[in-house]
Protein backbone atom coordinates (compact mmCIF):
# COMPACT_ATOMS: atom_id res chain seq x y z
CA UNK A 1 0.00 0.00 0.00
CA UNK A 2 1.43 3.43 -0.91
CA UNK A 3 2.14 5.81 1.96
CA UNK A 4 0.21 8.62 0.28
CA UNK A 5 -2.49 7.98 -2.26
CA UNK A 6 -4.26 10.73 -4.19
CA UNK A 7 -7.38 9.74 -6.13
CA UNK A 8 -9.42 11.84 -8.61
CA UNK A 9 -8.60 15.02 -6.72
CA UNK A 10 -10.50 18.09 -7.86
CA UNK A 11 -10.00 21.55 -6.36
CA UNK A 12 -11.79 24.69 -7.50
CA UNK A 13 -11.54 28.28 -6.33
CA UNK A 14 -14.52 30.47 -7.26
CA UNK A 15 -15.50 28.05 -10.02
CA UNK A 16 -11.95 28.03 -11.44
CA UNK A 17 -10.54 24.48 -11.60
CA UNK A 18 -7.05 24.41 -10.05
CA UNK A 19 -6.56 20.65 -9.72
CA UNK A 20 -8.36 18.54 -12.28
CA UNK A 21 -8.78 14.90 -11.25
CA UNK A 22 -5.26 14.13 -10.02
CA UNK A 23 -4.10 10.59 -9.25
CA UNK A 24 -0.75 9.89 -7.61
CA UNK A 25 0.84 7.31 -5.30
CA UNK A 26 3.87 8.12 -3.16
CA UNK A 27 5.70 5.12 -1.76
CA UNK A 28 7.50 4.69 1.57
CA UNK A 29 11.01 6.13 1.56
CA UNK A 30 10.90 7.82 -1.83
CA UNK A 31 11.57 11.44 -2.63
CA UNK A 32 8.79 12.76 -4.81
CA UNK A 33 9.32 16.15 -6.41
CA UNK A 34 6.25 18.05 -7.54
CA UNK A 35 7.52 20.13 -10.41
CA UNK A 36 5.68 22.75 -12.39
CA UNK A 37 5.51 26.37 -13.38
CA UNK A 38 3.89 29.18 -11.45
CA UNK A 39 0.13 28.66 -11.18
CA UNK A 40 0.31 24.99 -12.17
CA UNK A 41 -1.29 23.89 -8.88
CA UNK A 42 1.78 22.64 -6.96
CA UNK A 43 1.11 24.54 -3.75
CA UNK A 44 -2.62 23.75 -3.94
CA UNK A 45 -1.78 20.05 -4.19
CA UNK A 46 0.54 20.40 -1.24
CA UNK A 47 -2.20 22.04 0.83
CA UNK A 48 -4.43 19.08 -0.01
CA UNK A 49 -1.78 16.59 1.10
CA UNK A 50 -1.55 18.52 4.38
CA UNK A 51 -5.37 18.67 4.71
CA UNK A 52 -5.27 22.46 4.94
CA UNK A 53 -8.16 22.70 2.47
CA UNK A 54 -11.10 20.54 1.48
CA UNK A 55 -11.26 19.32 -2.13
CA UNK A 56 -14.42 19.53 -4.25
CA UNK A 57 -14.02 15.85 -5.14
CA UNK A 58 -11.62 12.97 -4.72
CA UNK A 59 -9.55 11.79 -1.80
CA UNK A 60 -6.09 12.01 -0.24
CA UNK A 61 -5.06 9.04 1.90
CA UNK A 62 -2.04 9.17 4.18
CA UNK A 63 -1.05 5.87 5.82
CA UNK A 64 -4.40 4.45 4.74
CA UNK A 65 -6.46 7.24 6.34
CA UNK A 66 -8.54 9.42 4.02
CA UNK A 67 -7.61 12.83 5.43
CA UNK A 68 -10.35 14.60 3.47
CA UNK A 69 -13.03 12.76 5.46
CA UNK A 70 -11.42 11.55 8.71
CA UNK A 71 -12.18 12.79 12.24
CA UNK A 72 -10.20 15.58 13.87
CA UNK A 73 -8.37 13.21 16.19
CA UNK A 74 -7.35 10.98 13.26
CA UNK A 75 -6.18 14.02 11.34
CA UNK A 76 -4.11 15.16 14.32
CA UNK A 77 -2.53 11.71 14.52
CA UNK A 78 -1.68 11.79 10.82
CA UNK A 79 -0.30 15.31 11.08
CA UNK A 80 2.07 14.30 13.87
CA UNK A 81 3.72 11.95 11.41
CA UNK A 82 4.30 14.75 8.88
CA UNK A 83 6.93 17.44 9.19
CA UNK A 84 6.46 20.53 7.03
CA UNK A 85 8.78 23.37 6.10
CA UNK A 86 6.85 26.10 4.34
CA UNK A 87 8.16 28.33 1.57
CA UNK A 88 8.29 31.33 3.90
CA UNK A 89 9.74 29.12 6.69
CA UNK A 90 6.77 30.28 8.85
CA UNK A 91 8.81 30.34 12.03
CA UNK A 92 7.02 31.86 15.00
CA UNK A 93 8.60 35.27 15.38
CA UNK A 94 7.69 35.55 19.05
CA UNK A 95 9.78 32.45 19.85
CA UNK A 96 13.52 31.87 19.62
CA UNK A 97 14.80 29.36 17.06
CA UNK A 98 15.20 26.65 19.70
CA UNK A 99 11.73 27.33 21.11
CA UNK A 100 10.34 26.98 17.58
CA UNK A 101 11.95 23.55 17.34
CA UNK A 102 10.95 22.60 20.89
CA UNK A 103 7.30 23.60 20.47
CA UNK A 104 5.90 20.28 19.23
CA UNK A 105 8.10 18.30 21.62
CA UNK A 106 6.79 20.27 24.60
CA UNK A 107 3.18 20.08 23.49
CA UNK A 108 2.91 16.60 21.99
CA UNK A 109 5.29 14.56 24.14
CA UNK A 110 5.92 14.01 27.83
CA UNK A 111 9.68 14.30 27.50
CA UNK A 112 11.61 15.92 30.36
CA UNK A 113 12.85 19.48 29.66
CA UNK A 114 16.48 18.31 29.69
CA UNK A 115 15.72 15.66 27.04
CA UNK A 116 13.82 18.20 24.93
CA UNK A 117 16.80 20.54 25.14
CA UNK A 118 19.06 17.73 23.92
CA UNK A 119 16.71 16.73 21.07
CA UNK A 120 16.41 20.38 19.98
CA UNK A 121 20.20 20.72 19.95
CA UNK A 122 20.49 17.54 17.86
CA UNK A 123 17.88 18.69 15.34
CA UNK A 124 19.55 22.08 15.02
CA UNK A 125 22.95 20.38 14.67
CA UNK A 126 21.60 18.25 11.81
CA UNK A 127 20.76 21.40 9.85
CA UNK A 128 23.94 23.20 10.95
CA UNK A 129 22.30 25.70 13.29
CA UNK A 130 23.36 24.37 16.68
CA UNK A 131 25.02 27.67 17.60
CA UNK A 132 22.06 29.80 16.57
CA UNK A 133 19.31 28.37 18.79
CA UNK A 134 19.09 31.42 21.03
CA UNK A 135 18.52 33.83 18.15
CA UNK A 136 15.11 35.12 17.12
CA UNK A 137 13.91 34.12 13.60
CA UNK A 138 14.19 37.71 12.37
CA UNK A 139 17.92 37.63 13.15
CA UNK A 140 18.49 34.75 10.68
CA UNK A 141 19.30 34.94 6.97
CA UNK A 142 16.87 33.46 4.40
CA UNK A 143 18.80 30.21 4.09
CA UNK A 144 19.15 29.84 7.86
CA UNK A 145 15.42 30.38 8.30
CA UNK A 146 14.68 27.59 5.84
CA UNK A 147 17.10 25.28 7.65
CA UNK A 148 15.52 26.21 11.00
CA UNK A 149 12.12 25.37 9.50
CA UNK A 150 13.50 21.97 8.44
CA UNK A 151 14.82 21.42 11.99
CA UNK A 152 11.36 22.23 13.36
CA UNK A 153 9.77 19.88 10.83
CA UNK A 154 12.10 17.11 12.01
CA UNK A 155 11.40 17.67 15.71
CA UNK A 156 8.95 14.80 16.21
CA UNK A 157 10.87 12.44 13.93
CA UNK A 158 8.24 12.41 11.16
CA UNK A 159 7.74 9.63 8.63
CA UNK A 160 6.99 12.17 5.93
CA UNK A 161 8.88 15.40 5.33
CA UNK A 162 7.20 18.02 3.14
CA UNK A 163 9.22 20.93 1.79
CA UNK A 164 7.54 23.76 -0.07
CA UNK A 165 9.94 25.55 -2.44
CA UNK A 166 12.98 24.95 -0.20
CA UNK A 167 15.43 26.72 -2.48
CA UNK A 168 13.20 29.57 -3.68
CA UNK A 169 14.83 32.96 -3.21
CA UNK A 170 18.18 31.52 -2.16
CA UNK A 171 21.53 31.94 -3.88
CA UNK A 172 22.79 28.85 -5.78
CA UNK A 173 25.30 27.90 -3.10
CA UNK A 174 22.78 27.94 -0.24
CA UNK A 175 20.22 26.19 -2.50
CA UNK A 176 22.78 23.44 -3.23
CA UNK A 177 23.51 23.12 0.51
CA UNK A 178 19.80 22.63 1.15
CA UNK A 179 19.64 19.94 -1.55
CA UNK A 180 22.52 18.12 0.16
CA UNK A 181 20.73 18.46 3.47
CA UNK A 182 17.58 16.87 2.01
CA UNK A 183 19.60 13.96 0.62
CA UNK A 184 21.38 13.55 3.96
CA UNK A 185 18.09 13.55 5.89
CA UNK A 186 16.56 10.99 3.59
CA UNK A 187 19.55 8.71 3.94
CA UNK A 188 19.86 9.16 7.70
CA UNK A 189 16.19 8.91 8.68
CA UNK A 190 14.73 6.86 5.78
CA UNK A 191 11.95 9.40 5.42
CA UNK A 192 9.48 9.87 2.62
CA UNK A 193 10.18 13.34 1.25
CA UNK A 194 7.81 15.46 -0.83
CA UNK A 195 9.36 18.56 -2.35
CA UNK A 196 7.50 21.23 -4.25
CA UNK A 197 9.76 23.22 -6.50
CA UNK A 198 10.23 24.77 -9.89
CA UNK A 199 14.03 24.71 -9.68
CA UNK A 200 15.19 22.10 -12.21
CA UNK A 201 18.75 21.48 -10.90
CA UNK A 202 17.40 20.99 -7.40
CA UNK A 203 14.59 18.69 -8.59
CA UNK A 204 16.95 16.44 -10.56
CA UNK A 205 19.47 16.37 -7.70
CA UNK A 206 17.11 15.17 -4.96
CA UNK A 207 14.23 13.33 -6.67
CA UNK A 208 13.56 9.62 -6.91
CA UNK A 209 10.47 10.40 -8.95
CA UNK A 210 9.13 13.61 -10.41
CA UNK A 211 5.48 14.51 -10.97
CA UNK A 212 5.17 17.33 -13.46
CA UNK A 213 2.09 19.51 -13.07
CA UNK A 214 0.59 21.60 -15.84
CA UNK A 215 -2.69 23.47 -15.49
CA UNK A 216 -3.91 21.26 -12.66
CA UNK A 217 -3.03 17.93 -14.28
CA UNK A 218 0.00 15.69 -14.22
CA UNK A 219 1.58 16.00 -17.63
CA UNK A 220 4.12 13.36 -16.68
CA UNK A 221 5.10 11.23 -13.68
CA UNK A 222 8.24 9.16 -13.60
CA UNK A 223 11.83 8.72 -12.51
CA UNK A 224 14.41 11.42 -13.21
CA UNK A 225 15.60 9.58 -16.32
CA UNK A 226 12.05 9.06 -17.59
CA UNK A 227 11.30 12.74 -17.16
CA UNK A 228 14.57 13.74 -18.87
CA UNK A 229 13.74 11.44 -21.80
CA UNK A 230 10.08 12.46 -21.95
CA UNK A 231 8.82 13.74 -25.29
CA UNK A 232 5.73 15.25 -23.72
CA UNK A 233 5.64 18.80 -25.17
CA UNK A 234 4.81 20.38 -21.78
CA UNK A 235 7.69 18.58 -20.09
CA UNK A 236 10.06 19.46 -22.92
CA UNK A 237 8.97 23.08 -22.84
CA UNK A 238 9.67 23.23 -19.09
CA UNK A 239 12.98 21.35 -19.23
CA UNK A 240 14.26 23.19 -22.30
CA UNK A 241 13.07 26.52 -20.91
CA UNK A 242 11.09 27.33 -24.07
CA UNK A 243 9.10 30.56 -23.66
CA UNK A 244 5.33 30.17 -23.69
CA UNK A 245 2.91 31.87 -26.08
CA UNK A 246 2.24 34.75 -23.70
CA UNK A 247 3.69 37.38 -26.06
CA UNK A 248 1.71 36.08 -29.07
CA UNK A 249 -1.53 35.86 -27.15
CA UNK A 250 -1.39 39.41 -25.95
CA UNK A 251 -0.16 40.82 -29.27
CA UNK A 252 3.04 42.06 -27.66
CA UNK A 253 5.27 40.32 -30.23
CA UNK A 254 3.30 41.77 -33.14
CA UNK A 255 3.56 45.23 -31.58
CA UNK A 256 7.34 44.97 -31.21
CA UNK A 257 7.74 43.62 -34.76
CA UNK A 258 5.78 46.58 -36.11
CA UNK A 259 7.78 48.96 -33.92
CA UNK A 260 11.12 47.56 -35.14
CA UNK A 261 10.01 47.78 -38.78
CA UNK A 262 9.03 51.41 -38.28
CA UNK A 263 12.40 52.13 -36.68
CA UNK A 264 14.18 50.43 -39.60
CA UNK A 265 12.11 52.42 -42.12
CA UNK A 266 13.16 55.64 -40.39
CA UNK A 267 16.78 54.54 -40.69
Amino acid sequence: MPLISIRDLVVEYDGRRILDGLNLDIEHGETMVLLGGSGSGKSTLLRQILALEQPQAGSVSVKGIDITRCSRSELKRVRRSIGVAFQSAALFNSLSVEDNVALTLREHTKLAPSIIELVVWMKLAVVGLAEFGKLQPQELSGGMKKRAAVARALALGPEILVLDEPSAGLDPIVAAELDELILLLKEAFQMTVIVVTHELPSAFRIADRIAMLYKGRFSSVGTKDEIRASQNPRVRQFLDRVPGDMTKASGVAAYFEKYLKTQEAHG
Partner: protein
Amino acid sequence: MATVLENVGTKTIDHLDYVGSLNVQLWATLLAMRTALPFVGNRYRWQASVRQMLQIGVDALPMVALMAICSGFILAMQGASELRRFGAMHYVIELVAVGFTRELGPLLTAIAVCGRSGSSFAAEIGTMKVTEELDSLRVMAFEPVEFVLAPKFLAALVSVPCLSIVSNVCGILAGGLFMFFSTRLAPLIYFRYVLESIQLRDVITGLIKSVAFATIIAQVGCLEGFRVRGGPDSVGRSTTSAVVKSTFLVIVADAVFTAIFYFTVKS
Protein backbone atom coordinates in the same frame (compact mmCIF):
# COMPACT_ATOMS: atom_id res chain seq x y z
CA MET B 1 -34.26 49.75 -8.05
CA ALA B 2 -33.30 46.11 -8.50
CA THR B 3 -29.63 47.03 -8.04
CA VAL B 4 -30.40 48.89 -4.82
CA LEU B 5 -32.34 45.89 -3.48
CA GLU B 6 -29.56 43.59 -4.61
CA ASN B 7 -26.96 45.70 -2.80
CA VAL B 8 -29.06 45.87 0.37
CA GLY B 9 -29.59 42.11 0.22
CA THR B 10 -25.90 41.39 -0.34
CA LYS B 11 -24.87 43.70 2.52
CA THR B 12 -27.46 42.14 4.83
CA ILE B 13 -26.26 38.63 4.01
CA ASP B 14 -22.63 39.75 4.54
CA HIS B 15 -23.47 41.21 7.96
CA LEU B 16 -25.44 38.12 8.98
CA ASP B 17 -22.54 35.96 7.79
CA TYR B 18 -20.19 38.06 9.93
CA VAL B 19 -22.37 37.75 13.03
CA GLY B 20 -22.71 34.01 12.36
CA SER B 21 -18.93 33.66 12.06
CA LEU B 22 -18.49 35.56 15.32
CA ASN B 23 -20.87 33.17 17.09
CA VAL B 24 -19.22 30.07 15.63
CA GLN B 25 -15.82 31.40 16.67
CA LEU B 26 -17.08 32.29 20.17
CA TRP B 27 -18.45 28.76 20.60
CA ALA B 28 -15.15 27.23 19.42
CA THR B 29 -13.27 29.52 21.82
CA LEU B 30 -15.48 28.53 24.75
CA LEU B 31 -14.81 24.87 23.97
CA ALA B 32 -11.06 25.55 23.83
CA MET B 33 -11.00 27.78 26.93
CA ARG B 34 -10.26 24.94 29.31
CA THR B 35 -6.76 24.65 27.87
CA ALA B 36 -5.98 28.26 28.77
CA LEU B 37 -7.06 27.95 32.42
CA PRO B 38 -4.55 27.59 35.25
CA PHE B 39 -4.10 24.17 36.96
CA VAL B 40 -6.54 22.28 34.70
CA GLY B 41 -5.32 23.54 31.33
CA ASN B 42 -2.12 23.50 29.33
CA ARG B 43 0.81 25.19 31.12
CA TYR B 44 1.98 26.98 27.96
CA ARG B 45 -1.48 28.35 27.14
CA TRP B 46 -1.82 29.69 30.67
CA GLN B 47 1.60 31.34 30.38
CA ALA B 48 0.47 32.85 27.07
CA SER B 49 -2.71 34.08 28.81
CA VAL B 50 -0.68 35.77 31.55
CA ARG B 51 1.53 37.47 28.93
CA GLN B 52 -1.61 38.67 27.17
CA MET B 53 -3.06 39.93 30.46
CA LEU B 54 0.05 42.02 30.96
CA GLN B 55 -0.23 43.42 27.44
CA ILE B 56 -3.97 44.10 27.53
CA GLY B 57 -4.18 45.11 31.19
CA VAL B 58 -0.97 46.40 32.71
CA ASP B 59 0.36 48.10 29.58
CA ALA B 60 -2.97 49.88 29.04
CA LEU B 61 -3.19 51.08 32.64
CA PRO B 62 -1.65 54.58 32.21
CA MET B 63 -3.75 55.30 29.12
CA VAL B 64 -7.01 54.10 30.70
CA ALA B 65 -6.27 55.99 33.93
CA LEU B 66 -5.50 59.21 32.08
CA MET B 67 -8.62 58.91 29.94
CA ALA B 68 -10.74 58.31 33.05
CA ILE B 69 -9.20 61.26 34.91
CA CYS B 70 -9.83 63.62 31.99
CA SER B 71 -13.37 62.33 31.53
CA GLY B 72 -14.03 62.58 35.28
CA PHE B 73 -13.00 66.22 35.21
CA ILE B 74 -15.04 66.93 32.09
CA LEU B 75 -18.16 65.23 33.47
CA ALA B 76 -17.85 67.03 36.81
CA MET B 77 -17.24 70.43 35.16
CA GLN B 78 -20.08 70.05 32.66
CA GLY B 79 -22.42 68.83 35.40
CA ALA B 80 -21.38 71.61 37.77
CA SER B 81 -21.86 74.35 35.18
CA GLU B 82 -25.56 73.46 34.95
CA LEU B 83 -26.29 72.22 38.48
CA ARG B 84 -24.62 75.27 40.09
CA ARG B 85 -27.46 77.45 38.80
CA PHE B 86 -29.93 75.39 40.83
CA GLY B 87 -27.70 75.20 43.91
CA ALA B 88 -27.45 71.43 43.44
CA MET B 89 -23.69 70.99 43.35
CA HIS B 90 -23.91 67.87 45.53
CA TYR B 91 -25.60 66.10 42.59
CA VAL B 92 -22.31 66.37 40.70
CA ILE B 93 -20.95 63.71 43.04
CA GLU B 94 -23.82 61.35 42.22
CA LEU B 95 -23.49 62.11 38.52
CA VAL B 96 -19.79 61.26 38.47
CA ALA B 97 -20.03 58.23 40.77
CA VAL B 98 -23.04 56.57 39.14
CA GLY B 99 -22.08 57.71 35.64
CA PHE B 100 -18.66 56.13 35.92
CA THR B 101 -19.55 52.86 37.62
CA ARG B 102 -22.52 52.12 35.37
CA GLU B 103 -21.43 53.62 32.10
CA LEU B 104 -18.30 55.64 31.51
CA GLY B 105 -15.77 53.40 33.26
CA PRO B 106 -16.57 50.25 31.24
CA LEU B 107 -17.20 52.18 28.00
CA LEU B 108 -14.02 54.28 28.08
CA THR B 109 -11.98 51.21 28.97
CA ALA B 110 -13.54 49.22 26.13
CA ILE B 111 -12.79 52.00 23.63
CA ALA B 112 -9.18 52.20 24.81
CA VAL B 113 -8.78 48.40 24.63
CA CYS B 114 -10.44 48.33 21.17
CA GLY B 115 -7.79 50.71 19.88
CA ARG B 116 -4.84 49.10 21.62
CA SER B 117 -5.55 45.38 21.82
CA GLY B 118 -8.33 44.74 19.28
CA SER B 119 -6.12 46.15 16.54
CA SER B 120 -3.09 44.26 17.82
CA PHE B 121 -5.04 40.94 17.84
CA ALA B 122 -6.08 41.50 14.21
CA ALA B 123 -2.58 42.53 13.14
CA GLU B 124 -0.89 39.66 14.95
CA ILE B 125 -3.23 36.93 13.66
CA GLY B 126 -3.41 38.50 10.20
CA THR B 127 0.37 38.52 9.96
CA MET B 128 0.47 34.91 11.15
CA LYS B 129 -1.96 34.05 8.37
CA VAL B 130 0.00 35.89 5.67
CA THR B 131 3.30 34.33 6.76
CA GLU B 132 1.74 30.82 6.87
CA GLU B 133 2.25 30.58 10.65
CA LEU B 134 -1.40 29.56 11.14
CA ASP B 135 -1.02 26.82 8.53
CA SER B 136 2.17 25.85 10.27
CA LEU B 137 0.27 25.49 13.55
CA ARG B 138 -2.36 23.31 11.88
CA VAL B 139 0.15 20.96 10.30
CA MET B 140 1.88 20.66 13.67
CA ALA B 141 -1.45 19.31 14.98
CA PHE B 142 -2.36 22.44 16.93
CA GLU B 143 -5.75 24.15 16.81
CA PRO B 144 -5.24 27.87 16.07
CA VAL B 145 -8.34 28.71 18.12
CA GLU B 146 -6.87 26.93 21.12
CA PHE B 147 -3.33 28.13 20.53
CA VAL B 148 -3.94 31.75 19.56
CA LEU B 149 -7.45 32.80 20.44
CA ALA B 150 -8.19 31.13 23.80
CA PRO B 151 -5.33 32.84 25.71
CA LYS B 152 -6.27 36.24 24.25
CA PHE B 153 -9.93 35.75 25.10
CA LEU B 154 -9.21 34.66 28.68
CA ALA B 155 -6.81 37.57 29.11
CA ALA B 156 -9.40 40.04 27.83
CA LEU B 157 -12.08 38.58 30.13
CA VAL B 158 -9.82 39.16 33.13
CA SER B 159 -8.14 42.42 32.10
CA VAL B 160 -11.03 44.51 30.80
CA PRO B 161 -13.17 44.31 33.99
CA CYS B 162 -10.04 45.05 36.08
CA LEU B 163 -9.26 48.06 33.90
CA SER B 164 -12.89 49.16 34.20
CA ILE B 165 -12.57 49.20 37.98
CA VAL B 166 -9.37 51.25 37.69
CA SER B 167 -11.19 53.58 35.32
CA ASN B 168 -14.09 53.96 37.77
CA VAL B 169 -11.71 54.80 40.62
CA CYS B 170 -9.73 57.30 38.53
CA GLY B 171 -12.86 59.01 37.21
CA ILE B 172 -14.37 59.33 40.68
CA LEU B 173 -11.04 60.60 42.06
CA ALA B 174 -10.97 63.26 39.34
CA GLY B 175 -14.50 64.28 40.32
CA GLY B 176 -13.32 64.54 43.93
CA LEU B 177 -10.42 66.76 42.92
CA PHE B 178 -12.74 69.02 40.97
CA MET B 179 -15.14 69.27 43.92
CA PHE B 180 -12.26 70.05 46.27
CA PHE B 181 -10.87 72.85 44.10
CA SER B 182 -14.25 74.31 43.12
CA THR B 183 -16.22 74.00 46.38
CA ARG B 184 -13.54 73.10 48.97
CA LEU B 185 -15.46 69.91 49.68
CA ALA B 186 -13.36 67.74 51.98
CA PRO B 187 -12.21 64.51 50.30
CA LEU B 188 -13.59 62.33 53.10
CA ILE B 189 -17.03 63.86 52.76
CA TYR B 190 -16.84 63.45 48.99
CA PHE B 191 -16.06 59.75 49.33
CA ARG B 192 -18.87 59.31 51.88
CA TYR B 193 -21.28 60.82 49.33
CA VAL B 194 -19.82 58.61 46.62
CA LEU B 195 -20.35 55.46 48.70
CA GLU B 196 -23.91 56.54 49.46
CA SER B 197 -24.61 57.16 45.75
CA ILE B 198 -23.28 53.90 44.39
CA GLN B 199 -25.17 50.67 44.88
CA LEU B 200 -23.79 47.20 44.41
CA ARG B 201 -25.96 46.71 41.33
CA ASP B 202 -24.28 49.71 39.67
CA VAL B 203 -20.90 48.04 40.06
CA ILE B 204 -22.23 44.64 38.94
CA THR B 205 -24.00 45.99 35.85
CA GLY B 206 -20.81 47.85 34.93
CA LEU B 207 -18.78 44.67 35.30
CA ILE B 208 -21.29 42.63 33.28
CA LYS B 209 -20.97 45.20 30.52
CA SER B 210 -17.19 45.09 30.64
CA VAL B 211 -17.20 41.29 30.32
CA ALA B 212 -19.44 41.62 27.24
CA PHE B 213 -17.15 44.32 25.83
CA ALA B 214 -14.10 42.10 26.39
CA THR B 215 -15.83 39.31 24.49
CA ILE B 216 -16.62 41.62 21.58
CA ILE B 217 -13.11 43.09 21.41
CA ALA B 218 -11.32 39.72 21.54
CA GLN B 219 -13.68 37.95 19.15
CA VAL B 220 -13.88 40.75 16.57
CA GLY B 221 -10.11 41.41 16.68
CA CYS B 222 -9.28 37.73 16.23
CA LEU B 223 -11.95 37.12 13.56
CA GLU B 224 -10.63 40.04 11.52
CA GLY B 225 -7.17 38.49 11.77
CA PHE B 226 -8.41 35.05 10.73
CA ARG B 227 -10.29 36.55 7.76
CA VAL B 228 -7.19 38.16 6.26
CA ARG B 229 -6.77 37.15 2.62
CA GLY B 230 -3.84 38.03 0.41
CA GLY B 231 -0.79 40.04 1.36
CA PRO B 232 0.41 42.49 4.00
CA ASP B 233 -1.92 45.26 2.77
CA SER B 234 -4.92 43.20 3.88
CA VAL B 235 -3.43 43.03 7.39
CA GLY B 236 -3.63 46.83 7.55
CA ARG B 237 -7.25 46.75 6.37
CA SER B 238 -8.17 44.07 8.90
CA THR B 239 -6.61 46.11 11.71
CA THR B 240 -8.66 49.17 10.82
CA SER B 241 -11.75 47.03 10.41
CA ALA B 242 -11.20 45.41 13.82
CA VAL B 243 -11.11 48.79 15.57
CA VAL B 244 -14.11 50.19 13.69
CA LYS B 245 -16.29 47.08 14.07
CA SER B 246 -15.44 46.39 17.69
CA THR B 247 -15.99 50.05 18.71
CA PHE B 248 -19.33 50.05 16.89
CA LEU B 249 -20.41 46.73 18.43
CA VAL B 250 -19.28 47.83 21.91
CA ILE B 251 -21.50 50.93 21.69
CA VAL B 252 -24.45 48.90 20.35
CA ALA B 253 -23.97 46.32 23.12
CA ASP B 254 -23.76 49.14 25.67
CA ALA B 255 -27.09 50.54 24.47
CA VAL B 256 -28.70 47.09 24.61
CA PHE B 257 -27.36 46.34 28.10
CA THR B 258 -28.35 49.77 29.41
CA ALA B 259 -31.87 49.28 28.06
CA ILE B 260 -32.09 45.81 29.60
CA PHE B 261 -30.87 47.06 32.98
CA TYR B 262 -33.13 50.12 32.81
CA PHE B 263 -36.25 48.06 32.19
CA THR B 264 -35.47 45.04 34.38
CA VAL B 265 -33.47 46.34 37.37
CA LYS B 266 -35.60 48.73 39.42
CA SER B 267 -33.99 51.34 41.67
